[in-house]
């Protein structure tokens, strides 16, 4: 069962941030409510990386930055064969890396 990747909504000013910060980037308050990153968005930019760091057995990774309709941007893995900037994508959560034998979940974007 996949978990969630959460943005943070500031309880004082309502600003949505991702990743999270100790102080709200807008009002400096430090109380937040978690808001799962979900739904559709637009692909702002992407890359296909062939020089991989440790832990990866595949030939390449496809990564992108997405402007989500919910009001934040996020980096994630793209599950899209031929990405095009401006494409509509949908956020899901899946295993993105194994670190020290432990599976780590993160955002995976597919075609909307």
């Amino acid at each position: 069962m996949a978990g969630t990747v959460d943005a943070a909504r500031c309880r004082s000013c309502g600003r949505l941030s991702y990743p999270t910060h100790f102080y709200c980037p807008a009002c400096h308050c430090r109380d937040f409510d978690p808001v799962p990153i979900e739904g559709e968005g637009t692909l702002l930019t992407w890359t296909r990386v062939y020089a991989l760091p440790l832990d990866y057995a595949q030939l390449y990774l496809t990564l992108g930055i997405v402007e989500l309709d919910m009001g934040v941007r996020a980096m994630g893995r793209l599950d899209i064969d031929e990405p095009v900037t401006g494409a509509r994508v949908r956020a899901t959560v899946g295993v993105v890396r194994e670190i020290g034998g432990r599976e780590v979940e993160g955002l995976v974007f597919g075609t909307a």
């Binding site: 941030s17 991702y18 990743p19 702002l44 930019t45 992407w46 890359t47 296909r48 990386v49 062939y50 020089a51 991989l52 760091p53 440790l54 832990d55 990866y56 990774l61 990564l63 992108g64 930055i65 941007r73 996020a74 980096m75 994630g76 893995r77 900037t85 993105v96 890396r97 670190i99 780590v104 993160g106 955002l107």
Partner: protein
């Protein structure tokens, strides 16, 4: 605050070295110390710039170890880790120590030995610069961040792969004239972009960036000796004054910046350095920019104010940034060809500018007696940037 001058400079060969990290740093320091007329004066402090020694070379406390090998006890010693901007950071701290009056003679040495580990390990340790939870877990590397940035910047400003290749061709040509450069082989447009074998020679690393858009993984060390400007005349034939330093930071996660296609920390660092030096970008005669990726030389040259937005590509086409151009950029070969031992690079840039301002750069000397030099050292993916302005004479 006292004015501070560079009275000695030195560096090793860049590339894959058989020397240990400390041996590299000792050789660079020895050259910088020997370059100045020190007599029996003692070094007050040593600042070392390095990023990866704990992981790659199994050595912590690098500055203390360097003091030991150089026998400059009881000099104060600190190691500065500020990612790829460690070098300029260490120079800044050295300048502050002298400017404040706390120290007279300060040695700043940047060193990195990356080839002690394999390519996966070196890619991995540099990727620790990225945001642990919002970037690193996806396998984000520095080339990946550069690829994401490059696509945005190219689409927005009409930059074509040819322009990226022009940066590589220029910097490889410059590196071929620098006997200490890591890569001294010229490359051509046919060889890396337009010829039948181009894409065999030049595969994608992080689409749209190809192999020749990325700097090599290098070993090397550089060092400068700093002194109060009023002492500089006794210590050096041609002292070089540190006229301005500027630094600025930005969001760690690239996607969170208000506009991920801009590098505001580069803009601010440069503005602050120019303001402190009291010159405009047009007053710069030679620049060493942080071209870890070809797109960065283009973007930085615009953010720093040398060209208007979208104008760097035209300047490249007209050859304005070649050694004999209006504003030579990276005459040493830059990170692209001189090499990029990460934590060392900011010190290397300063050493290269000192050589240019003294007229001692040999085959890659910029003509016309350059008086002002500008260095830009880019940390993380633009989240910690230092700019330094140097001026010949004190």
């Amino acid at each position: 605050m006292r004015d501070v001058a560079i009275v000695g400079a030195g560096s090793t060969q860049f590339g894959r070295s058989q020397w240990s990290l400390l041996k590299l740093m000792c050789e660079a320091s020895n050259e910088a110390l020997g370059d100045a007329s020190l007599g029996d004066r003692r070094i007050d402090a040593v600042y070392v710039a390095n990023m990866g020694s704990v992981r790659n070379n199994r050595q912590a406390g690098l500055a203390s170890a360097l003091v030991d090998r150089l026998n400059v006890f009881p000099a104060a010693a600190e190691t500065i880790e500020n990612g790829p901007a460690s070098g300029a950071s260490a120079v800044k701290h050295g300048v502050q120590a002298v400017a404040s009056g706390m120290c007279d003679l300060v040695l700043v040495c940047g060193g990195e030995r990356m080839q002690e580990v394999n390519a996966f390990e070196s890619t991995e340790f540099v990727s620790y610069l990225s945001h642990r939870y919002a970037e690193y877990v996806y396998g984000v590397t520095l080339p990946a961040l550069a690829g994401l940035f490059a696509r945005l910047y190219m689409e927005r400003h009409g930059i074509r792969p040819e322009h990226l290749a022009m940066v590589a061709i220029k910097n490889h040509a410059n590196g071929a004239r620098n006997p200490r450069a890591h890569l001294q082989t010229p490359v051509t447009m046919e060889g890396i972009l337009t010829g039948p074998d181009a894409f065999m020679n030049n595969p994608f690393i992080a689409d749209p960036l190809r192999f020749f858009d990325c700097c090599p993984v290098s070993d090397g060390a550089s060092a400068v000796l700093l002194a109060p400007a009023e002492m500089a005349g006794e210590l050096a034939r041609t002292p070089v004054r540190v006229a301005g330093i500027g630094q600025a930071t930005d969001c760690q996660a690239v996607h969170e910046r208000p506009d991920p296609a801009e590098l505001p920390a580069v803009r601010l660092a440069a503005q602050r350095a120019f303001a402190m030096a009291g010159i405009e970008p047009s007053g710069v005669d030679v620049a060493e920019l942080h071209d870890a990726f070809t797109i960065l030389e283009i973007a930085e040259s615009e953010e720093a104010g040398f060209f208007g937005r979208g104008e760097a590509a035209g300047a490249l086409e007209r050859g304005e940034t070649r050694i004999d151009g209006r504003l030579p950029i990276n005459p040493s070969g830059g990170l692209k060809a001189r090499g990029h031992p990460v934590g060392n690079t900011g010190v290397s840039q300063i050493v290269e500018l000192v050589r240019q301002l003294r007229g001692e750069a040999g085959n890659y000397q910029v003509p016309g007696d350059p008086r002002h030099g500008f260095a830009l050292n880019f940390g993380g993916f633009g989240n910690n940037v230092l700019a330094t302005v140097l001026e010949r004479g004190v």
